[in-house]
Symmetry: C2
Amino acid sequence: MRSPAQNAQLALLLEVSGTPKPGNVDRHREYDDLRFEHFVAGAVGSTPGLELAQQGAAVGRAFERGVAGMAEQTAGNTQFGALLLLVPLVRAASSDPGAALTPQAARDVVRATTVEDACDFYRAFEHVDVGVDDPPSDLEALDVRWGARVEPTLRERELTLFDVMELSAGVDGVAREWTQEFSRSFGAADWIEAGDGPVSERAADAFLRLLAEEPDTFVGKRRDRATATEVVERAQDALDGAIDPEELATEFVRRGINPGTTADITAAALFIALERGLSV
Amino acid sequence: MRSPAQNAQLALLLEVSGTPKPGNVDRHREYDDLRFEHFVAGAVGSTPGLELAQQGAAVGRAFERGVAGMAEQTAGNTQFGALLLLVPLVRAASSDPGAALTPQAARDVVRATTVEDACDFYRAFEHVDVGVDDPPSDLEALDVRWGARVEPTLRERELTLFDVMELSAGVDGVAREWTQEFSRSFGAADWIEAGDGPVSERAADAFLRLLAEEPDTFVGKRRDRATATEVVERAQDALDGAIDPEELATEFVRRGINPGTTADITAAALFIALERGLSV
């Protein structure tokens, strides 16, 4: 059977295969400079990092290696946030191979992260441009765009990777998963497992439900809060049948509204479902 | 950078991502019981076999492991023929990591196969249903549908895997690549490298050129010679602009004409191009 690292890779690939996923690259829609094949190459490239996590390597180190491999394609950042969820989940799934993957196991992994993990996390930003805002003034010294130069501050303040995630949880939906026992990822895994039909269609359905649930923080950062709120409302309209999800997908891609955080959580949900026995 | 095993996996994924590829599963077309996601899971599952080949394991053993992993999805055979090309190519690419991958290196690998490799090859048929015809009466004892039960015959006649491929080269386009220094795979790699634009589009173009070049032996076996000949002519019409490749793709899928051997060679060509430095 597939290993956790293989399931994580498959989750990344199934996530981008699902369609329609309004605003995201999927099997039927792409941006000129961010294409389906870049996500495929990103998933393949990230494997060594996922395998490190499976072998019990530190979360920060495995993440940094995963991002370095992911970035070996011409579009830059494709799955940074997804890897930030998948790496601790792979660690959790590998720590007790016979046991079911639980929110508690995931919580234990992220709470055990260290200052070294935080340093490696910042190092990962040197491989790719990740869309982030200016940090609030009290967090300027921790601006991720400084990459490895933040290391002295992390050591001085004794900040673990979990601490760093807690500081961002208010503005970043991926960080919030770290601090809330991956609750949306596990919830969406339940939806995917309860569905039937092709797995990539179920993933697209889960994506739309997540999108209607709360504002996508990547859209909030790259665009603005009003757009993020509009996305929630339009996704709900699509769920209610008031608008066609295919049309919404085409419109969002045209407008460059790309709900990346929701895609990251969908990938995590797929991984959890696969680990629990979902067959493709 | 990506390892040969990773490039082989990426080749499998880019092959199925290319569209339109008349009659094959691609990013926009699938069969109810043979879907895009089955090919994705097949590519992920085959990785341990590809890694064995990279580590220098025997070709038959690596192939059998690759097929076993590939088959861990619900559609059965997705990339049997592609793996039969990729495994020796990965071996060749790994044997001299600094050197360019050449037809000579591939030839050396397949000519060095043994009776053990032939036994493992037959064992691989136990994992999946592969579409084959009744063999000619003089080859009845070597019918692949007998799987591992053919082993005594292989040992008695001292048939290597290369010998087995030579016996099928007249009726099987994948076996013919083994005996002809992978000439079509290397030729199509040249086309892909010479092109520009998205790699998956170049792969789809290469597929159409291969399809117009000679009858697809999988179509010949699953359907008949007349259909295989028709496919060549229609593919040429599509290349000449007389018909729309998208329409041809839709028509072939509707009629269940699935040129699998041509897809296998396209995957091999993508691998060769990636090994030679093609970037995605």
